[in-house]
């Protein structure tokens, strides 16, 4: 009681500082508010709805990773990891091959330029291209058949696991090439010469110098490619005519207002888990990338 008046007297200067800070931050508020309203709020709603149990037997977040939906998550993760792994190997090999050509090479610039384009292709057009190539009446299917390789008879389906893997590789390869090219071109000729003058043959150089330097960007590239495949939707949706087991395609079913009795809010929970997986992989990617960049500087 006795303390209160003096505390009040001390208030104005304390209160004025935050007010001034507030005024200084006011000009950046529209940007933060915009992202808050159109990105963060929807994301928060996803988790809020995913945590409401309603009529469900189990909490939606649990339901989303058990039983049939757990299996679908495993399917999505397996597919994303596989395309990322193949993408890392082939994308890196391409980057190494491209780096050998030297800066002035037309082939190099063609491949790098095309990679910047192809890494951003996707959606329906990409699905169309793969149907035209590897569908039952596809050009490649036909060419292979002429050569005596019957992929349709062997059970290959463009809407199946391997069909989607191949279509995703079309944007995974170039993305990895883009990620690795600066790292590989950053390997200095001086290091190779130093290793050679110390008696290292090319294989020893790659084992002791090249690979250790390239490992962090390769790991971060894997995470980026995984996230890229995991969040893709349109290509898989179009290839499978909406029938794929991939989680993004499954979510569509719930979003169109379908609910399975006793599993309300499951669509929110699937979306919530997708965000969690993305936070983990993209977080890892950014952390690793920051470390590599610091090291390179």
């Amino acid at each position: 009681m006795v303390v209160a008046p003096s505390a009040l007297k001390g208030d104005p200067p304390v209160g004025r500082v935050p007010l001034r800070t507030l005024r200084r931050w006011l000009p950046v508020a529209p940007f933060i508010g915009f992202v808050g309203l159109f990105l963060l709020w929807p994301a928060v709603v996803v988790f809020r709805r995913a945590s409401e149990r309603l009529d469900a037997v189990r909490a939606p977040m649990i339901e989303a990773i058990t039983g049939q939906f757990g299996a679908n998550f495993a399917f999505s993760i397996r597919l994303s990891a596989l395309t990322a792994a193949i993408g890392v190997v082939v994308g890196t090999a391409t980057a190494v091959a491209v780096a050998r050509l030297g800066n002035a090479s037309t082939t190099r610039n063609l491949i790098i330029g095309w990679s910047a384009v192809a890494a951003n292709l996707g959606g329906l057009p990409l699905a169309f291209a793969f149907v035209a190539a590897l569908g039952k009446q596809g050009l490649i299917t036909r060419l292979l058949a002429e050569m005596g390789i019957d992929i349709v008879g062997a059970g290959f389906e463009i809407a199946g696991f391997w069909g989607i893997v191949l279509a995703y590789l079309y944007f995974q390869f170039p993305l990895m090439t883009l990620v690795m090219t600066p790292a590989i071109e950053g390997l200095r000729a001086a290091w190779r010469e130093a290793a050679a003058s110390l008696g290292a043959d090319p294989r020893t150089y790659w084992r002791l110098v090249g690979l250790p330097i390239l490992t962090p960007p390769m790991v971060s590239g894997f995470l980026l490619l995984f996230a890229n495949a995991f969040s893709a939707y349109a290509t898989a949706y179009a290839l499978s005519s909406g029938g794929s087991r991939l989680i993004p395609v499954q979510i569509r079913f719930f979003l169109q207002g379908n609910t399975i009795t006793g599993k309300t809010n499951l669509g929110y929970a699937l979306a919530g888990w997708m965000i969690i997986v993305m936070v983990v992989t993209m977080g890892g990617f950014l952390l690793l990338r920051r470390r590599t960049e610091r090291w390179r500087a």
Partner: protein, 286 residues
């Protein structure tokens, strides 16, 4: 020719080994090149050749090519409507992006550097919310309280601004970082220019390339985005592809190929404007 330059650089002693080691890398480029090329060729054949696959052989592979499927498809009124909507969305989203980002970033650079790391972090947040999860959240957040908002075609604008944000932000940020903004602003102030005047006639002319790149990036996103438009039932160009596929697959493939060519041209222009600054557009998380 490149084998020789490489061998020469490696010295005569390593010459033979270098050439031998070169073969695998040529093989890689050949295989990857075919992988990139063949689906596009297949699509072009399907879209522009009027010969069914089962009668196609070496004798007729060059005959009956026609641009008619594309020309017929783009004459449909549905195509015109979809193209107009996509154009409107691209222009509006590009404008909103610039109005939102340019003043905010200039302010952060000149007055409030403490805000910069926070803005950087916010700008990459769209990466962790996949489009399909975002649209679930949009439905859950806006349908109950603002159904009129998601009923409007233009409701896509803010979401496209957000989806393109990681790329657009970096493009404008990089072009501002390349300037000595404080000196420019101080010089302008000492000559008596007002703040708006400095932004308009000093800063913006210096970051024109970054702004142009950001706007092209938005256009690329709008041309390619299917998920949000599809689930909010907006008839944009990618949705028109799906509609056309039902009745006229050949036309749909032709329009799809044309869309890819336009996207490639946009991305080519982007690389050209950003190449001088040494910015690699690592994109793709869409």
């Amino acid at each position: 020719m490149n084998a020789t330059t490489d061998a020469a650089a490696g010295g005569t002693v390593r010459g033979r080994g270098a050439r031998r080691r070169h073969l695998p890398s040529r093989l890689v480029l050949l295989v990857v090149g075919l992988f990139y090329l063949l689906p596009m060729l297949s699509m072009a054949r399907f879209a522009f050749q009027r010969i069914p696959m089962y009668v196609l052989d070496a004798s007729n592979v060059l005959s009956k090519w026609t641009a008619a499927p594309l020309l017929d498809a783009v004459r449909q009124p549905e195509f015109v409507t979809a193209a107009l909507l996509s154009t409107r969305l691209a222009v509006l989203a590009a404008l909103v992006t610039v109005v939102l980002l340019v003043p905010t970033l200039i302010y952060a650079y000149v007055v409030l550097p403490a805000a910069k790391p926070i803005l950087d972090t916010i700008s990459i947040l769209p990466f962790v919310v996949p489009a399909i999860a975002l649209v679930v959240g949009i439905a859950g957040a806006f349908r109950p309280i603002a159904p009129w908002f998601i009923a409007s075609d233009l409701s896509l604008v803010p979401f496209y601004v957000v989806i393109a944000l990681p790329y657009t932000y970096r493009s404008i940020d990089n072009s501002l970082a390349a300037l000595d903004l404080r000196t420019l602003v101080d010089a302008g102030r000492s000559l008596g220019a007002s703040w708006p005047r400095i932004v308009w006639s000093v800063v913006i002319p210096n970051i024109r390339a970054g702004i142009a790149t950001a706007m092209l990036l938005v256009a690329t996103v709008v041309l390619g985005e299917f998920t949000v438009a599809s689930l909010l039932l907006k008839e944009t160009l990618p949705l028109y592809l799906q509609y056309l596929q039902g009745g006229d697959p050949q036309g749909a493939f032709a329009v799809g190929l044309a869309l890819m060519v336009v996207t490639a041209a946009l991305l080519g222009a982007i690389n050209k404007t950003s190449a001088r600054r040494g910015v690699t557009q690592v994109a793709g998380v869409m």
